[in-house]
């Protein structure tokens, strides 16, 4: 083993900066013995900002970004195996994760302080989760994917149960924990099978062996490899909340503290999607003819089940959870069409979706505590709320029902406008970033010969308009019930402003689309036989011109 050289360590610097900020936050609280909210926010934002600066620098790296290599090169066929590679795809995903983390720190800080919980601990654990997600986004090796997934999952289990004494939170955390551990087991077993089939866990090397010119994989190797891919899909599918691995998501989204729900919806999905892109196209791109129909079917089921279930939800957080499941289906459509610009579409869509979800959950997080006098509305959602009566509630109740939004257009016009813009972007209405994202996915699917998939996508979008527009009606058409006007902290409203401006600016400037297109050029196998794609069209696609994985150092 050669010790990692300094330039190699620079690759992990974004994640290290975030971890350093987390440690500093904990230290400050321990030394001062009291919570200084501004200092904690400042340190966290400095760490996240520094990391974002480093990520932005590597946006130009294309597919050949710097990497951390594992030692013992001889065993893996002469070439050193990359563990983490800071390419443009990692940078784009990383920036999204960092924005989501900054948002969660700002919005969550007020939420946590109102409940008398420790803000420093909250902030530190959010930062640890973000660091794990950054590593997952940059992972170039299956073992690194497993480590990244676990690093952020364990932090999220803690965050779900962060309100002490709160049964809904504990229950959400336990459900997330049990199913998440199950998923981790599948992920690790998949890794072991792929390792058994190819003798390597490095994604590019696996891709080379399973399909490359010098690979010459036997049928047996391909079978074991595909079995491994199935297990990896199950593991990552849990994290992305794809149907049929979605059963944890509604309960967890509903029971977790609202800022954390937004963080999970935006950042977890981004990190898991980037990892899935790499697994599917870097490691298994050569076998795409085999798995593409299965993944396409997964996308259809996820879209349809997510949207249908979202329609019947009375609880807003649950509704947004099912909508998040449906949105994962849209992203999966883009991954299927990765040969025709789908990755850029997926990245842009994740940006639009993430900002909208953060904004929507951010508004809900700021509204909490306003529903105290309306416990009856929540009785339908938390059936045994009365049973918890002997234990003092850990602070104000979360705003989760449609009735909590009643008349918001009059009492809080600014929050109502934010919520409206976010929901409209989630539907994909034309002036919003969500529209452009959906249009890019649609176009890539049509170009890739997945016409029927594109049609299912459009039908589902129409279906989703029904439940996304209902809260808007409640905000503007229904009389307000309470007279309490929520207090909105400056940091939180700043974060919401950023989200809304992002949603608008993302559409106005073509720059983000260009950046997403550039991030498309990651290290992947050209697909051998894209479904229904005439060969002359195939040569014009980005995938056909992408650098073959074999040229990686």
């Amino acid at each position: 083993m050669t010790p990692a050289s300094l330039p190699e360590l620079l690759v992990a610097l974004p994640a290290l900066a975030v971890v350093m900020a987390a440690l500093l936050v904990v230290l400050v609280e321990a030394l001062w013995r009291r919570t200084i909210a501004r200092l904690i926010d400042g340190i966290a934002l400095a760490g996240l900002g520094g990391a974002a600066f480093l990520e932005a620098l590597s946006l130009r790296a294309g597919d050949g970004g710097p990497a951390i290599y594992r030692g013992a090169a001889a065993a893996s066929g002469g070439a050193a195996a990359a563990l983490v590679r800071q390419d443009a795809l990692a940078a784009f995903g990383g920036l999204l994760i960092l924005v989501a983390a900054a948002f969660t720190v700002l919005v969550g800080g007020a939420y946590v302080a109102r409940r008398g919980l420790r803000q420093a601990e909250y902030t530190a654990v959010v930062l640890f989760a973000a660091a794990g997600m950054l590593l997952l986004g940059a992972a170039a090796d299956l073992i690194m994917i497993f480590l990244g997934v676990e690093a952020f999952s364990i932090a999220l289990y803690v965050l779900c149960a962060f309100r002490s004494g709160d049964r809904a939170g504990y229950e959400a955390a336990l459900k997330y924990f049990v199913l998440g551990s199950l998923a981790a087991g599948f992920l690790l077993y998949g890794t072991a099978l792929v390792y058994g089939a190819t003798g390597s866990t490095e994604l590019a090397r696996v891709g080379q062996i399973l399909s490359g010119p010098d690979g010459g994989a036997t049928a047996g190797q391909q079978t074991v490899g595909l079995a491994g891919l199935t297990l990896l899909l199950v593991g990552l599918g849990f994290k992305m909340a794809l149907v049929p691995f979605h059963h944890w998501a509604p309960d967890v989204y509903q029971g977790a503290p609202t800022p954390i729900t937004g963080f999970m919806a935006a950042a977890t999905k981004t990190a898991a999607t980037v990892a899935l892109i790499r697994v599917l196209w870097t490691a298994f791109g050569g076998l795409s003819a085999t798995w593409l129909p299965a993944v396409a079917a997964l996308a259809v089921v996820t879209m349809v089940v997510g949207n249908l279930a979202a329609i019947v939800q009375a609880d807003l957080k649950r509704m947004l959870a099912y909508s998040a499941i449906a949105q994962a289906g849209y992203v999966l459509v883009a991954l299927v069409a990765a040969a025709t610009g789908g990755v850029a579409a997926a990245l842009y869509y994740l940006l639009a979706y993430g900002l909208a979800k953060l904004g929507a959950f951010g508004v809900l997080a700021l509204l909490d505590g306003q529903g105290g006098g309306r416990a009856a509305d929540a009785a339908a959602n938390v059936a045994d709320a009365g049973a918890a009566g002997e234990r003092p509630a850990a602070g104000p109740r979360d705003a989760t029902s449609l009735a909590d939004l009643a008349g918001l257009g009059r009492t809080q016009p600014w929050l109502a406008a934010t919520m409206t813009i976010c929901l409209m972007s989630l539907v994909g209405l034309p002036p919003m970033a969500g529209f452009l994202g959906k249009w890019m996915i649609f176009q890539s699917a049509v170009d890739g010969g997945w016409m029927w998939l594109a049609i299912v996508l459009v039908l589902n979008t129409a279906l989703s308009a029904f439940y996304y527009l209902r809260p808007i009606g409640w905000m503007y058409m229904v009389e307000p019930k309470g007279d309490a006007v929520p207090e909105v902290g400056s940091g939180a409203s700043f974060a919401l402003t950023v989200a809304v401006l992002g949603l608008v600016a993302a559409l106005v400037s073509g720059g983000i689309v260009r950046v997403a297109r550039a991030a498309d050029a990651f290290d992947r196998r050209p697909p051998d036989a894209p479904a229904g794609l005439p060969p002359e069209l195939g040569t014009a696609t980005p995938a056909a011109t992408a650098t073959p994985a074999g040229t990686a150092p």
Binding site: R70, A72, A75, S76, G77, I143, F146, L147, E150, I154, Y157, V158, A161, S164, G165, R167, A168, Y170, E171, A172, A173, L174, K175, F177, V178, S181, L182, A184, G185, L188, Y189, T191, A192, L193, Y195, G196, A197, T198, G199, S200, T201, I209, A217, T218, G220, Q221, V224, P250, D251, Q254, G255, Q313, A314, D315, R318, N381, V382, A383, D384, R391
Partner: protein, 106 residues
């Protein structure tokens, strides 16, 4: 690099691992006591460890055996958080049965 197809590792450890993994997964899904569920998760991860070691030995590499250390570390961290959750839930609920943890639904 010696792939699996060239030098098949002894089938027995792989079969044993697959069996243990299945038992573990079934335990997570079927058992009702949270502590037993946690033990089943550990069984799944350890089954994978057996696979990794068997494959790694058959290929005359050390990588797989190093991965086992990663997996053990993760499993320890996971179970620490898991047990803390079980304790918190038991204090607030007075039960460690999965079926009692069902207030969130819709």
């Amino acid at each position: 690099m010696i792939p699996l197809a060239a030098v098949l590792p002894p089938a027995q450890p792989l079969m044993l691992a697959a069996l243990l993994f299945t038992i573990g997964a079934a335990g997570v899904l079927l058992r009702r006591n949270i502590i037993i569920v946690l033990m089943s998760v550990e069984l799944m991860l350890n089954a994978v460890n057996i696979t990794l070691v068997a494959v790694s030995r058959a290929m005359l590499q050390l990588d797989g055996q190093v991965f086992v250390f990663f997996s053990l570390t993760i499993a320890a961290a996971e179970v620490a958080v898991g047990l803390a959750l079980v304790v918190a839930l038991h204090r607030s609920l007075g039960s460690s049965d999965v079926d009692d943890v069902s207030s969130l639904r819709g």
